[in-house]
Symmetry: C2
Subunit: 247 residues, 2 copies
DNA sequence: CGATCACTTGAATAGTCTCAAAGCCCGTGG
DNA sequence: CCACGGGCTTTGAGACTATTCAAGTGATCG
């Protein structure tokens, strides 16, 4: 039971130390577990959810469709993230969330979250802060989308995936999980799958990184970052997390 | 004094009725007035502000620069908006905000905002909600940026400007203020000024809209919306506001 | 009235997309 | 263990969208 919110608790504790009471309140939250296969939708545009959910394992994406059937993936969420916080305060969803790999989540009723932070306001602020960091990620991705050429754009995307995977403790030997198809990466970057393919090959030729058997292998982190114009400020890491990254 | 927060109060009251106590708390906020000329920066990347500010009149933009000196405008803010709420909970700014026209703002110390919503939690939720709606706007703009061709992209942009201007009570006779240069519109849409120019002419030829003497004239709202694939859901309007739009 | 800034126009070029076909990988069932 | 099938990746060619550069026009302001 206790372990179900583990990734979320770890994430919360990186920004501030939780008191025993606050920890107890979090553990006391009634939760429900859900498991989703790759491609399954968790919530959709137009829904009025009464739950939010934290990711326990796996990967989800938030996306929107244009009326012409094109899909823009807005942001990915890792274990410890709380993708759908906005539905706490906005009734109708304007986007959808789907699993990009086998994913386990823990559902928490809005009502229970509200009661929790009415009692412990700092927890409310922590959640608010999480939603603000998500917005910061959206902003950086918007800069990426609007101003960078495909090569830097894709490099930047992979940099973000590497860093956020590392923060979620998913990095092993300079590799992180990469369950996405090139089509999906294209949907996230506003590029065609064909173009993603070509640039990805270029990254491999230049020995910056490569994708093999569902994992992204970082071959030259320094150069990859440089190629991407990647500066992690927008992720709003703690000093400890920043240190972790350089290793 | 009372009138300085007027546009903000009006906006807050559209989402829920404020009690007398809450209103009093808002009016009791110590504020400081600021005025900025077009082009002036209000806050910048790397700053650690101790204030946030509400817009009283004018127009601001939030933007980020890439290391190659290109600028992406992320979102514009109108009277009643609270552009820099994120600095309440995230110390270091990852973006900048500048005035896009002569703009008056009212500064409020973070400390005072925190004290206010500690006492009146609903006001905190209202602010939280405002930051979530901003995130929703970012998401729609991201769909625009990533998936739509220049023609729809620009149409969509103008639709958003028209609707949000109308909500801020700036619409007069099917026109809204348009202080932006084509270069600035390009920075917001990831397009060159030249291309913006060409498409804008096309919109004019097709009699959908035109820009004259600092104002955007809507010539055919229905067709403009259709061309833009514009659906205002993402703005999370109240029923009353939706009604307003159709007139 | 001159200077400045924004808008307009044209031509050449660069970047990315679409379409279509072929190759590869992996899981499945025989 | 092998053959098969489906989905993903790879490759090539041609078309299209948007960019850049550069020059010219128009409007506004002191």
């Amino acid at each position: 039971m206790k372990t179900l919110l583990q990734p979320l608790l770890r994430k919360l504790e990186t920004t501030f130390a939780l008191s025993n009471d606050e920890l107890a309140a979090l553990h006391a939250l009634p939760i429900k577990v859900g498991e989703f296969a790759k491609g399954e939708q968790l919530v959709g545009e137009g829904d009025r959810p009464i739950h939010s959910f934290a990711i326990q394992s796996g990967l989800t994406c938030m996306y929107k469709n244009s009326s012409t059937g094109r899909r823009q993936i807005l942001i990915f969420h890792f274990p410890g993230d709380f993708p759908d916080l906005q539905s706490l305060h906005i009734n109708v969803l304007d986007m959808s969330i789907a699993a990009m790999a086998r994913t386990k989540v823990t559902f928490v009723k809005h009502q229970d979250i509200r009661m929790m932070y009415a009692r412990y306001p700092r927890l409310g602020e922590a959640l608010w802060r999480m939603s603000l960091v998500d917005a910061a990620i959206l902003r950086e991705r918007m800069l990426n989308l609007g101003q960078r050429k495909a090569f830097e754009r894709i490099s930047h995307f992979f940099c973000e995936m590497v860093v956020r995977s590392k923060l979620a403790e998913l990095m092993v030997d300079d590799t992180v999980p990469m369950p996405l198809t090139q089509q999906e990466i294209g949907d996230a970057l506003g590029l065609s799958n064909v173009h993603v393919n070509r640039i990805t090959q270029e990254l491999k030729e230049k020995k910056l990184m490569e994708v093999r058997r569902g994992r992204l292998h970082v071959l030259n982190w320094k150069q990859l970052r440089a190629a991407a114009d990647f500066d992690a400020t927008y992720l709003h890491l703690t000093p400890a997390q920043k240190l972790l990254l350089d290793r």
